[in-house]
Symmetry: C2
Subunit: 394 residues, 2 copies
């Protein structure tokens, strides 16, 4: 009997038609106006330059967000997991790049998607992976398509342009019956920069390495149709993209405090925030306690290495106006501690128990991943317009 009486659900905020003021906290908010503006900004920038934009869905992981990117019909996307690829395939997407290095079990699963009609391109950087992929494709009865990963700044994986393995991988792909999609590189080190000049230089380096790699492959007789680069900072600061055919970026949809610290956006561009409620005060310490801890904000401390450390996030009022120098200074699982940044002359606002505030996150990908859904809001309204579920897992 009690099972029916207890109306709770394992999923947050399953009831509909609430306002911001009545939303149970902590809850993830997505400002649709800012989302659309961020999407338009990069889409226009790439359209002006004749570059295909292949948005990375790893940040949003939501078909509803993807539909804001592509209102009329599905277009090219990048994914970070095969669960994402399967999810977007079920929603009609066909042109995808899985931008994580290939292993035998992911090759098999990726080829099942190709068999089902999805043009899923995979990523590798060794002759061993090329041969393995060829064998998996043969067994599945499909022709795989793969990018060779290029390392442009020492950030993670991939081959340098001068590595003799580059031509060896292309040869192994050809021998194994795998189609070469092109080369793919990611200027991951751009996240640690913070001046326009250095970002322009990082974008130019990303381009230069990419076209050199494509040139090396073409010089060795391999077709290299796609020259794919991308990171949110370089996408917004690249001045010349000659020779590049496509751009990948993900966090630009939402932006966050790390991107603000890099200099790619203002706080007025940050489209996601965590709504939270005051649950205690500790005036003798200058603390206000809220019900958003690291479970709601994530453990990401990406701004700790930047010029301005934002703690676990920057605090705004319910309408999204920043309280100067008020940050989440500490976080445990379900508790956040708000405090004025050390050295600031600003005073703590008066926020009694039950008051609500919003937190701009350090890292949109990490914070959004702590939540089941987006509560969609617009700047000029108190209503939750929609609830957009996120997919998760692998």
């Amino acid at each position: 009997m009690l099972r029916e009486e207890i109306s709770g659900t394992d999923h947050q905020n399953a009831d509909t038609a609430v306002t911001l003021g009545r939303l149970a906290t902590p809850a993830l908010l997505l400002d649709k106006y800012r989302l659309d503006r961020n999407l338009a900004r990069l889409s226009s920038r790439m359209a002006e330059r004749g570059i295909v934009l292949r948005p990375h869905m790893k940040t949003a992981k939501s078909i509803d967000v993807a539909r804001r990117v592509y209102p009329s019909e599905p277009g090219p996307i990048t994914v970070s997991t095969l669960a994402e690829a399967e999810y977007f395939a079920r929603h009609g997407f066909r042109d995808m790049t899985y931008a994580v290095g290939l292993a035998p079990h992911t090759a098999e699963r990726a080829m099942r998607l190709r068999k089902a009609g999805v043009d899923l391109k995979v990523l590798l950087d060794s002759p061993e992976q090329a041969r393995m992929l060829g064998a998996v494709g043969l067994a599945a009865g499909v022709t795989p398509t793969a990018f060779i990963e290029i390392d442009c700044d020492g950030h993670r994986g991939g081959l340098t342009t001068s590595d003799p393995k580059l031509i060896a991988v292309a040869a192994a792909l050809s021998e194994a019956g795998v189609k070469l999609a092109g080369i793919l590189t990611h200027a991951g080190e751009s996240y640690s920069l913070f001046t326009p000049e250095s970002l322009v230089a990082a974008a130019e380096n990303e381009r230069a390495v990419a076209i050199a790699a494509a040139g090396a492959l073409r010089g060795a007789g391999h077709e290299c149709p796609i020259v794919s680069v991308g990171s949110t900072p370089t996408a917004h600061f690249a001045e010349d993209l000659t020779g590049v055919t496509e751009m990948r970026a993900g966090v630009y949809m939402f932006f966050d405090l790390v991107m603000h610290g890099v200099g790619v956006c203002t706080t007025d561009d940050i489209a996601i925030s965590v709504l939270t409620t005051v649950i205690g005060t500790k005036p003798e310490k200058g603390w206000i306690l809220v019900d958003a801890g690291w479970m709601a904000l994530s453990r990401d401390r990406g701004t700790a290495a930047q010029r301005v450390d934002q703690g676990y996030g920057l605090v705004c009022d319910v309408a999204g106006k920043v309280y100067p120098d008020l940050i989440v200074s500490q976080a445990s699982q379900e508790h956040g501690i708000l405090a004025i940044r050390p050295g600031s002359a600003h005073a703590m606002p008066n926020l009694p128990i039950g008051a609500k505030v919003r937190i701009f996150p350090n890292h949109a990908c990490a914070t959004a991943s702590q939540h089941e859904l987006y509560n969609v809001v617009s700047a000029d309204s108190d209503a939750i317009e929609a609830r957009w579920p996120r997919m998760h897992g692998w």
Copy 2:
């Protein structure tokens, strides 16, 4: 048509009857033998001292784990969200403490559970909360039960024993028609210690503050039936618990590298790990790339402040044997970089693409929360014995 052809699911590893070697990665593993041993260790310790153990379910968030704690019938538990309270209530639990400070919307939701027959005790530390709770209880037609939160070490919320508000809160509860459950404190600062002597002292301080607070309330004429203390370190190091009636702890079920650094467990006690696959190598940098990034491991860097920094986790072979000084040195969303700890004389093991390893996490609560389910294994078998779902959200 394609929708049916694409067999993937939004949830990881939904197929059953696989072995460890064939499990899709990244995946969360739970060693049932170690879990049971960890549970027995603290249960015995508390039973010997005549102390009620009220396990904190915020780490496991799983009815299946709770059933290992209470194989015959549900017992007392602690929860960190009302979604947890509702979940465990649906599974038959009745005696719960919601150990996060109360706000108006959580008070209303908590009273719905009381109305449904759940003995849910809440937590507060101000006369304002006491009056608000009384009003919410009256409106719901139930008598609320509340703990007063005591601050024993400056970690987070709560009142110090000498704060005159302590008696004022008790008086406000009484006037508002709320039953005083007792006092509750948490030695959160014990997580930063690492010697047995300091842990014994932290436990004694936690006890001393708790009994002083209970004494102050009793001296003012208030009943204080429950004297509740707890943290995993102090639970394992307390030598004298005279005057304490119950102990709370959560991460002791799984343990982790932070608890190892504090000195509460060995790596052989760590019951959860993340299975991952090698997806690339970068021999010139001494790197091996795996498909467990921060999405699978969490962004928690809790060992960064300890004497031994374990990066994003310590690497073991598939059987759980630690590779000396091999850690996850960097993590992006779906990539981990394995490297030998700086200064170590150990060599990188030979791990080709496709090889699988396990990662012990820094913080079990954070890492487990990145996953939908536990793949249950035992030390002596390659089989996935069971899949235990986790609940999530608020």
